[in-house]
Symmetry: none
Amino acid sequence: MGKKETAARRLAIIHTARDLFAEKDYYKTKISDITNRLGISHGTFYNYFNNKSDVFTHIIKGYIKRLEEIFLKDNPRLSNNAIEFRNQLVRLTNELFDVFIEDQNMYDLLFFRAEVAGLEIKKEIKKLFKTAELFIEKYLAHGVNKKFLKSSIDASLNAKAIRGMTTVALEDLMENDAPLQLKERWIISLSNFIIDGLS
Amino acid sequence: MGKKETAARRLAIIHTARDLFAEKDYYKTKISDITNRLGISHGTFYNYFNNKSDVFTHIIKGYIKRLEEIFLKDNPRLSNNAIEFRNQLVRLTNELFDVFIEDQNMYDLLFFRAEVAGLEIKKEIKKLFKTAELFIEKYLAHGVNKKFLKSSIDASLNAKAIRGMTTVALEDLMENDAPLQLKERWIISLSNFIIDGLS
Amino acid sequence: MGKKETAARRLAIIHTARDLFAEKDYYKTKISDITNRLGISHGTFYNYFNNKSDVFTHIIKGYIKRLEEIFLKDNPRLSNNAIEFRNQLVRLTNELFDVFIEDQNMYDLLFFRAEVAGLEIKKEIKKLFKTAELFIEKYLAHGVNKKFLKSSIDASLNAKAIRGMTTVALEDLMENDAPLQLKERWIISLSNFIIDGLS
Amino acid sequence: MGKKETAARRLAIIHTARDLFAEKDYYKTKISDITNRLGISHGTFYNYFNNKSDVFTHIIKGYIKRLEEIFLKDNPRLSNNAIEFRNQLVRLTNELFDVFIEDQNMYDLLFFRAEVAGLEIKKEIKKLFKTAELFIEKYLAHGVNKKFLKSSIDASLNAKAIRGMTTVALEDLMENDAPLQLKERWIISLSNFIIDGLS
DNA sequence: CATGAATGAGGTTTCATTCAT
DNA sequence: AATGAATGAAACCTCATTCAT
């Protein structure tokens, strides 16, 4: 087996584990569930990961990294007026939603299943949420600065509120069979709500 | 042991279980953890509950019931204008926040720990969320009807969005050492956001 | 089951474990070997001991304590001449041999099986040997002082040598079917060797 | 790979295995520990040995052979008086000690680690000890015959006793950082003890 | 009702060994 | 010969639950 096949098998384990963790639960997912589904021996699992929590952590960390990239790529300072702000908002939520739609396990794993994982990984997820909130807050602050958002708003709490709205939108998309159409509705609804609410 | 003492011990088990499930996790909480903390034999537990998941379900169902009462008590038709709407909003969120502040375990158990419970109970929680969303939607529809909310709003999605905002507010309150002061800030911020966003 | 029966079962586990550890090996002895021989479930074992190494340590520590008592009871200063010294030597080796003859597992467990146990217990055994050697050395030093032993002897090395002779005697007794007769021969032989060699 | 390289690799495996068995334990030493230290694949191990216990047995048998040679080389009949006897004693213990000092793993492996080996190899070690004791006994018998040792001694037990003394001396040397100086002290001490005790 | 000893299903992990390349 | 992926027997340990006292 060459390097490529080895990497492929590692990936297969990751994907199967990810599916099962999302379907069941960290605890209810047995190593044998993963290996049975792959048609390999349970011992093989341990040639690729040290233990169960190892794969889990790997999956979650991958998700965290992917989301952080979105926040780092964007620049809150680009909009100069409400129209540009809306465009930025639309672009950003669209990208975020796409990431979650693409990997339907992401939402469950990140928001719920990680609960039972070790404290360390929970902290990292918490940090991710904080990052997202601070990111939104910068947007709002910039808007206030540029005068296209009201100066009276409570930027910190509103940032959190927006994070909450977005989370529910994600949940809604995940439960829907045709998420792409629903996505458009959510993007419009959210941007209207935010802009009319804050400007 | 009389009926009263029996009921009291049952309650004590529920409370201790509730605390531990919130502190640790359903899986990480052992029957012996509960009974040890109560200073009773672990065998005694089984005189009050059939098994571990039994107490857990009981706790979650209690929470569900308690929250449903809030929604059933209120009447979305009472407001005739934006000012009355705001008052109703303030009253409602205040009451909701109080319930969660009073029992600090509620948030964690309902939103995260319940994940590991059986499918049936998860469905009930999902239903609770739906109930809440429909309840909010009725509010919005009434407002549109009475013309103090814009007719262009997507009532269904906005109801979900508001549920998301509220959830994040709860999370924020739970993490705060002085939730009562923060509560006021959230109530104002939320009602401003909602009213300015939708009216 | 009362306290007495509980203690009895604990003792039964210790004895069976002790026998098996001596028969086989720490590693080759499985928890199920112990419980099968006792006709109990393997789970029961864990109601009495935390784990395998727990019983093992318990057994070894019991042995160490028992032997230390022998050394602490005796007083190296009692003899004033070679005859008294011989008597003391005879009494002491006799007592030591009896302890090992009484529990035939002691020798193997202490000298060989403990090898595979944790480092801590190995250190304790090493300490026991050092204690024994220092104890013998005091005897020799007292003898030199009282002039019934040669002043030219290397007390430290001779003490070790005597420990070695005694160990081999023990091994020989353990392998013999009629250890009591052989014991007398060893006691005479050892005391002659020591006294004629050092006085 | 030619015959020479093959033999060299086999030897390298033996040496590394020997070191690890002495450092840790038979059980605690994994095949991969051996191969990792050698920088080869663990599969390669099985081109040189059938299994784990195979190397172990090989090592122990090598030690046994080496020690037997010492006993076979010497002739107990060479001394005619106490002085010659002492010289022979000194020469012999010196040689024995040197063998063990040269390969510091030998003592541990032969006296303790071999415990976990199969019954067969344990019997061989026991036989080696018996050989050593019979060898010493012949010395003593010859001394009694030539009248430079007391006729009253219990040659059989004294031979064992001397084996025990020698073993402790070895142990002491192994634990010491400067074994060569200590060796001289032990040789003097042992020969004095033996000669004065038995003659 | 209370107790706590006993049970055993069930899970995780290790590692010697095999074997196709 | 060398490699290292795959295998699976085998062991440890947990803990919910039962039940006799």
